[in-house]
């Protein structure tokens, strides 16, 4: 079937992901949960394996050959990540455990020294808990106000009152792409509005960086966080990018080794950025793996990745509605160009748990639940959704399998 979904990306890519060769319940696996975590290509697995087999040593402060090589590989990955998001300098890349830790770093370190009881920050109703709870924790201590940008019925931000919400606020923190609805938010426009109001913009790009060409300058972000495991990299490594002058002025987050220049009985002098924020032995192999992931994605070309996903999302929306008609409702924007490949749907009145359970028997992996976005669930008037999410290794056959497996849900739960 011709879908315009770059045939070069289709088959050739899937075979680079070993896990996708396995089967579950005697059926070939159909992995549609990349918004939760992506699969890993051989290039990443090999890079990490190689690292442990031939390079492994603690980084920095080691004069010997392999310690220097480990440091070099880690710093190469930092440069790769910086290039991947068009950051002006590799020193602006801070490695964390995941996006959640990166957002907590922003809240603790920047928020902790900039937000007081007279202040306000702005979030949106479609945020992941990772961009809500750190602010709740800090607000409970410091008493600043949290304001919320509402969403429209089709799952976009309702920017009608944006200027009023931003008035007097010090920060707007927003997801670049919803992990539930797939909505792509107008980040450059939000950046301009925030900056006009004298606020900074923090972007949760966990669902964006893996899927679209990213340029922090074009986005207009001041802070941006994302996570390695959703972009073909391993778990255990995430990234905070921020403008150097912000990072310079921020106090350390965690204390310990690596993050100091000097320690005395009286106190300590923090290291320079980014090491100031990287206390303790970093996840070296994971960072090396993330570097390999970035190079892998660059090899495919992020424009091609995005084109593939737009085309496949269109195919999915068409196929699901053609086949299931009124039985299925997909949340979020209906235009593939305005969204990523995240499809949260309602199928008849069948509970998401039951849907995902039945799909699993056909080898189809989708996620059911609140997707760590409970305020959004309340806005949508549901407690949970079923979510199928796409990535570069998915193809039309995966969508066909999903559509087909939904028939079995209908057969079992039909009235």
């Amino acid at each position: 079937m011709s879908t315009g979904a770059g045939p070069d990306i289709d088959r050739a890519v899937k075979v680079q992901f070993p896990l996708l060769e396995r089967s579950v319940h005697g059926r070939p696996i159909v992995y549609l949960d990349s918004a939760a975590s992506s699969q890993k290509p051989t290039a990443v697995l090999d890079a990490m394996d190689d690292y442990y087999r031939t390079v492994n040593a603690n980084v920095h402060r080691g004069a010997y050959e392999i310690a220097a090589a480990a440091t070099e590989q880690m710093e190469q990955a930092r440069a790769d990540v910086a290039r991947f998001i068009s950051a002006p300098s590799a020193d602006e890349i801070v490695f964390t455990k995941n996006a959640t830790e990166a957002m907590n770093l922003v809240a603790r370190s920047w928020g902790g020294s900039n937000l007081g009881s007279a202040d306000a920050i702005v979030l949106t109703e479609m945020e992941h808990h990772a961009n809500i709870v750190p602010w709740h924790i800090l607000a409970a201590e410091r008493g600043f106000e949290i304001r919320w940008i509402p969403i429209t019925h089709d799952g976009c931000l309702d920017l009608t009152d944006l200027d009023r919400l931003l008035d007097g606020a010090k920060l707007l923190s927003v997801t670049a792409m919803s992990n539930v609805l797939g909505t792509l938010n107008p980040i450059p426009r939000l950046a301009a509005a925030a900056h006009d109001a004298g606020a900074l913009l923090s972007v949760d790009a966990s669902q964006y960086v893996p899927h679209l060409p990213t340029d922090v300058g074009e986005l207009g972000a001041d802070f941006m966080v994302f996570t390695g495991h959703k972009m073909c990299g391993p778990t255990g490594v995430g990234v905070l990018w921020a403008r150097m002058e912000l990072l310079d002025a921020m106090p350390p987050f965690l204390g310990g080794g690596e993050m100091i220049l000097d320690v005395t009985k009286e106190g300590f002098r923090p290291n320079t950025v980014p090491h100031k924020f990287e206390a303790g032995t970093p996840p070296i192999a994971e960072i090396v793996g993330l570097g390999a992931a970035v190079r892998y994605l660059e090899g495919l070309g992020m424009d091609a990745v995005r084109a593939h996903e737009v085309s496949l999302t269109g195919y999915a929306l068409r196929t699901l509605t053609d086949r299931h008609g009124d039985d299925i409702t997909v949340h979020g924007p209906s235009e593939p160009a305005q969204r990523g490949g995240v499809l949260s749907f309602v199928y008849r009145d069948v509970h998401p748990h039951d849907i995902s359970q039945v799909l699993d028997q056909s080898g189809v992996c989708v996620r059911a639940g609140h997707h760590c976005a409970k305020p959004l669930m309340r806005c949508l008037g549901v407690t949970a959704t079923t979510r199928a999410s796409l990535y570069v290794y998915n193809d039309t056959s995966d969508i066909d399998s999903l559509a087909e497996a939904l028939d079995e849900v209908g057969a079992l739960f039909g009235h």
């Binding site: 319940h25 005697g26 509970h351 998401p352 748990h353 039951d354 359970q357 039945v358 028997q361 059911a368 639940g369 609140h370 409970k374 669930m377 407690t383 949970a384 079992l412 739960f413 009235h415």
Partner: protein, 166 residues
Amino acid sequence: MAGLEDLYREIILDHYRNPRHRGELECPPAHRSEGFNPLCGDEVVLTFEMDGDVVTDLRVGGYGCSISQASASMMSAAVIGKTIDEIRDLTRAFKAMMSIHEESIGGDGSEALDGAADAAGANDGALRLGDLEALRGVVKFPVRIKCATLGWNALATGLDETAAGE
């Protein structure tokens, strides 16, 4: 390999489609207890009336997946008219059935289940899980066990509170 037919037995689907004792009683005089699964948002709201130590009526509200709602419906049919002690025994037997690990089941698991029911005080032979046994297959789907026990946990909490309040 566990198949869907182990989970979605006909009687379960029937309770899901036609839930028994659905609704809410006025509180007071009825007592109220809620069960909530923060992982999936499933909720069971129980209201029940007592006469002495007998549960004379019980209604099930809330929303959730087929297993949580069917299990609560089956529970309502099983406990109305029983004393607190009888219900506690039944709860123990049911939860024992829900905690048998897959490996220890072997075959259809009936021996392990009988053992568990015995251990739970069912050796007088009077306590039978009856229709509730249809939920036995849930054990093979560990993530769904919490769905099946949601209503039972809510009832246990509710009965404890009523007992403590007297």
